[in-house]
């Protein structure tokens, strides 16, 4: 079962380790300059950016007269204008996430908390969005580390969504709120309503102009078909049950289907330059943030 308190969900050790992890975006929102988490807007600022020759129509107030005295040429002095970096952490709160030990939902919330902390620490605006927003509360984009404790409390109290649905629908519903463009990190097991649901979901995020990163988390038990025998297998989300004779042949088929699905997700992300991490819940969250994200391109 998923945890409901801050103390249960986020240990002190976990929070201490977050301090040592830095978050970075793969690309700037606008402009070709690749600075850390920094969009380039030429405007009023205290930080010099560059000089540009004065052309007609430019505001003469920005002419650098000292430079004119030195070079005998009118140039405009441009400054860097900093822009907030939006990090949208979408975590799956469907019933299928309430599985395993620890529950995948707990694991996802820990990762979400970790990402949020790193974002807040770097003055980014961080939003925490449950995929089925109807069942939980959205943490609207905000910045400032002082809000982190509040964020944790809300995260800990997030319930699981009682109803089933398609991943694509949930994402479409969120995109309809016109979120600012930024980095969208999807935390989910990616068990969609069908085999193409997860792909369609990522497509929608891409088409919305979001930078997408995916952390797919599964429980180790889900990789295996379980003990042999006859069972009525019940989908914990939909309640649909099917009779299954789990013999060795069925077990082999299950493993093959599972592997093919994982590979299809991986192949899609690689083709579309989506950072993908496929992990299981045995892997420590802090290590996942520190090391696995580095491999996946989330952190420089």
């Amino acid at each position: 079962m998923s945890s409901q308190t801050v103390e249960e969900l986020f240990s002190a050790e976990f929070l201490r380790r977050l301090e040592s992890i830095a978050l970075a975006a793969r690309q700037l929102v606008k402009g070709a300059q690749r600075a850390q988490r920094r969009a380039v807007h030429h405007g009023a600022s205290v930080e010099f950016a560059e000089y540009r020759p004065f052309t007609e129509g430019d505001d003469w107030r920005y002419i650098d007269w000292n430079a004119f005295a030195r070079w005998r040429q009118l140039v405009l002095k441009l400054f860097v204008e900093e822009e907030d970096w939006h990090v949208h952490v979408l975590y799956d709160n469907s019933t299928s996430m309430n599985f395993g030990a620890p529950a995948k939902f707990d694991y996802a919330r820990q990762v979400a908390a970790g990402l949020a902390y790193l974002g807040l620490a770097n003055l980014d605006r961080v939003a925490l969005v449950p995929l089925q927003s109807s069942a939980g509360r959205i943490w609207k984009p905000a910045r400032g580390k002082e809000k982190f404790l509040l964020l944790l409390r809300q995260l800990a109290q997030q319930p699981l969504a009682p109803e089933a649905g398609q991943l694509e629908d949930h994402v479409r519903r969120w995109l309809s709120t016109r979120p600012r463009r930024g980095l969208v990190v999807l935390l989910s097991d990616l068990w969609g309503a069908d085999l193409g649901d997860a792909i369609r979901t990522l497509d929608r995020l891409r088409y919305a102009g979001q930078e997408v990163g995916v952390i797919q988390m599964i429980d180790p038990a889900e990789q295996n078909p379980g003990d042999p025998g006859e069972y009525d297998l019940e989908d914990c989300e939909t309640g649909t049950a099917i009779p299954i004779l789990n013999d060795s042949q069925a077990a082999r088929d299950y493993r093959r289907q599972f592997t093919q699905y994982q590979e299809s997700i991986s192949r899609y992300c690689k083709q579309n330059q989506i950072a993908l991490i496929q992990t299981d819940t045995r892997f420590p969250v802090a290590d996942l943030l520190l090391r696995t994200l580095r491999h996946g391109g989330f952190v420089e």
């Binding site: 097991d189 889900e222 069972y231 009525d232 297998l233 009779p243 042949q249 069925a250 289907q257």
Partner: protein
């Protein structure tokens, strides 16, 4: 079909909980999964399962019930359908010969025979009757007719083999009489086939004992043989120790050792006298060649000699590896001569070995003096008591030329120079005595007491007579002539006669007692049963144990049913187990 324990059928009620548990167990468990994405891809193949696989759950239940049925049947101990519904009445005769201890089968023939009988007893139904007879010498009824398996088993527990070879015929005759007392009774003789006499077909038995009654059919005799035909044995076939007839103080010991092995066999032979080692020999026994040796030793006391074999590589019968022979001590005869001085008699008595004698004057033969003597010789006088001595002492009395009347008869007229016309050469006193040259100057005519035998006579006049039978008390003999009035004392007949008289008084001596099994090595373990009674030798040799005629099954039916039940259990487990579903 009949059952030894029909009450066990009640255990079939266990089928009810089995079915109940099975139905509970057969409910398909529900398992929650996070997604059916992948199972939905596998499902089409599962729907196309063969028909029998969908039925395998019911097949599994059927197998469990079948197993229960087999188990219950095993407990009821059903008897084969060919076994008669009539009561079976069997007299088991088990051979107790020493050869039954042969270890050519494991553990030995005796145990194998007992096991065979115990198996058969264990399959007795409640209305079957059996008896057990041990074919020892004499035959012993271990248990009379009984339906109690425990009684029969206990009776067998107390049975032991004998040290020698026993004649089984008295036991078989006893068994046949016992079997004849029951309707349909029969005899099963369990032995290794080593019989000193061939088995004979039992005669018909009179049903009622009346001469006019029809003869009853003799009971069926089944011979069941145990043991093999390849027994290897090395043993002592002769061991004797006896005193020399020439010099009684000297022993002669002889031994013969044989082996029936086809290969030369090395053994160690050890001879002891009263526990003290006399000789040790390393012997190499060649096939078919016995090893023989004799020893001499001296001594007057009783002695026990023991021969022992050891060191054989293989020896299936250990009972003939040791033999003992006992030799009794020498016995001195006490002779009391009641006579005036008689040089001939005194010289003769002094010359005899193992004779302790003394002479007293006539009239001094007091009862005390007489009681100390084995033999009293009266010469020219009569006993003080005219009546026959009683009390066992003296054991014998010889009267020479008695005059008068007594228990021996009475004297009559004198005979002048009588000729000995006839004498009994086969009688003990006159054995090897020749009287044809003896000349008598004078003799006396006698009238012997009733019951006396005339051993020598002169034309119907008894000259030597008496009662020298062993049973007489005392033995007595009358010489009807005066030794000094004849040349009898000058002839060899005189010492021979007196020697015969004295030697015949010696107690019967078992000069040697041997514990050696009789017969040669080859016959000690050899089957003498006719082929139609001893089974197939080839089959028995291959098994290492000779089993019998078809009447005794090696395993009861319930044993096979349990085996089949276990097989079904394994099969059911294989099919039903959820761990192995294919």
């Amino acid at each position: 079909m009949t059952f030894l324990w029909p009450a066990a059928l009640g255990l079939l009620a266990l089928a009810i909980p089995i079915i109940a548990f099975y139905l509970v167990k057969s409910r398909i468990p529900r398992r929650q999964v996070t997604t059916l994405l992948f199972w939905n891809q596998v499902k089409p193949r599962l729907i196309q399962q063969p028909f029998w696989r969908r039925l395998r759950r019911w097949l599994s239940l059927a197998l469990q019930l079948l197993f229960l049925l087999l188990l219950v049947l095993a407990l009821t101990q059903p008897q084969p359908f060919w076994r008669s519904a009539q009561p079976e009445r069997v007299v088991y005769v088990i051979s107790a010969s020493a050869s039954m201890r042969a270890k050519d089968v494991s553990p030995d023939r005796w145990q194998q025979a007992r096991t065979l009988i115990e198996q058969r007893i264990s399959t007795m139904r409640y209305f079957d009757e059996s008896a057990v007879i041990l074919a020892s010498d004499p035959a012993r009824i271990l248990s009379g007719w009984t339906t109690s398996q425990r009684t029969l088993m206990n009776a067998l527990e107390g049975a032991e083999t004998s040290p020698g070879v026993d004649d089984a015929r008295p036991a078989l005759a006893l068994a046949e009489n016992l079997a004849a007392s029951r309707e349909g009774g029969r005899v099963v003789f369990v032995s290794d086939g080593v019989l000193p006499y061939p088995l004979e077909k039992a005669p018909a038995i009179a049903a009622t004992g009346k001469e006019t009654a029809p003869l009853k059919k003799a009971p069926i005799l089944d011979c069941v043989r145990v043991g093999g035909d390849e027994a290897v044995n090395s043993g002592i076939t002769l061991f004797s120790a006896r005193r020399s007839t020439v010099a009684p103080g000297e022993f002669q010991i002889a031994v013969r050792v044989e082996s029936n092995s086809k290969e030369p066999t090395e053994v160690e032979f050890e001879l002891t006298r009263d526990g003290r080692l006399m000789d040790v020999q390393k012997i190499k026994l060649e096939p078919g060649k016995p090893w023989e040796k004799s020893w001499k030793d001296q001594g007057n006391a009783a002695v026990q000699f023991t021969a022992k074999l050891s060191g054989m590589q293989r020896d299936d019968l250990v009972e003939d590896n040791i033999a003992a022979a006992n030799v009794n001590g020498l016995y001195k005869i006490s002779v009391l001569l009641v006579s005036p001085k008689n040089s001939f008699l005194e010289a003769l008595l002094a010359s005899l070995d193992l004779v302790d004698w003394k002479r007293i004057e006539p009239g001094h033969d007091t009862p005390a003096a007489l009681a100390a003597a084995d033999l009293v010789i009266y010469s020219k006088c009569l006993p003080l008591e005219s009546t026959r001595p009683t009390g066992g002492k003296p054991r014998a009395v010889v009267l020479m030329a008695p005059v008068g009347q007594g228990f021996w008869g009475k004297s009559g007229d004198a005979l002048d120079a009588p000729l000995i016309s006839e004498w009994q050469r086969e009688s003990v006193p006159l054995r090897y005595v020749s009287l044809d040259q003896v000349r008598l100057n004078h003799a006396t005519s006698y009238t012997p007491a009733p019951g006396a035998a005339v051993l020598a006579e002169s034309f119907a006049h008894p000259l030597i007579f008496g009662d020298w039978e062993q049973t007489a008390a005392p033995q007595w003999l009358v010489l009807g002539f005066d030794l000094e009035q004849s040349d009898f004392v000058l002839r060899t007949a005189f010492p021979v006669l007196l020697g015969n008289v004295i030697q015949s008084l010696r107690p019967e001596q078992q000069s040697a007692f041997s514990a050696v099994l009789p017969g040669s090595i080859g016959t000690r373990l050899a089957n003498t049963l006719p082929p139609e009674q001893s089974g197939d030798p080839a089959a028995t040799a291959s098994k290492g144990a000779a089993y019998s005629l078809a009447s005794l099954a090696s395993h009861p039916a319930w044993w096979w049913l349990v085996l089949a039940g276990l097989f079904w259990l394994l099969l059911e487990w294989r099919l039903y187990s959820r761990r192995i579903t294919e």
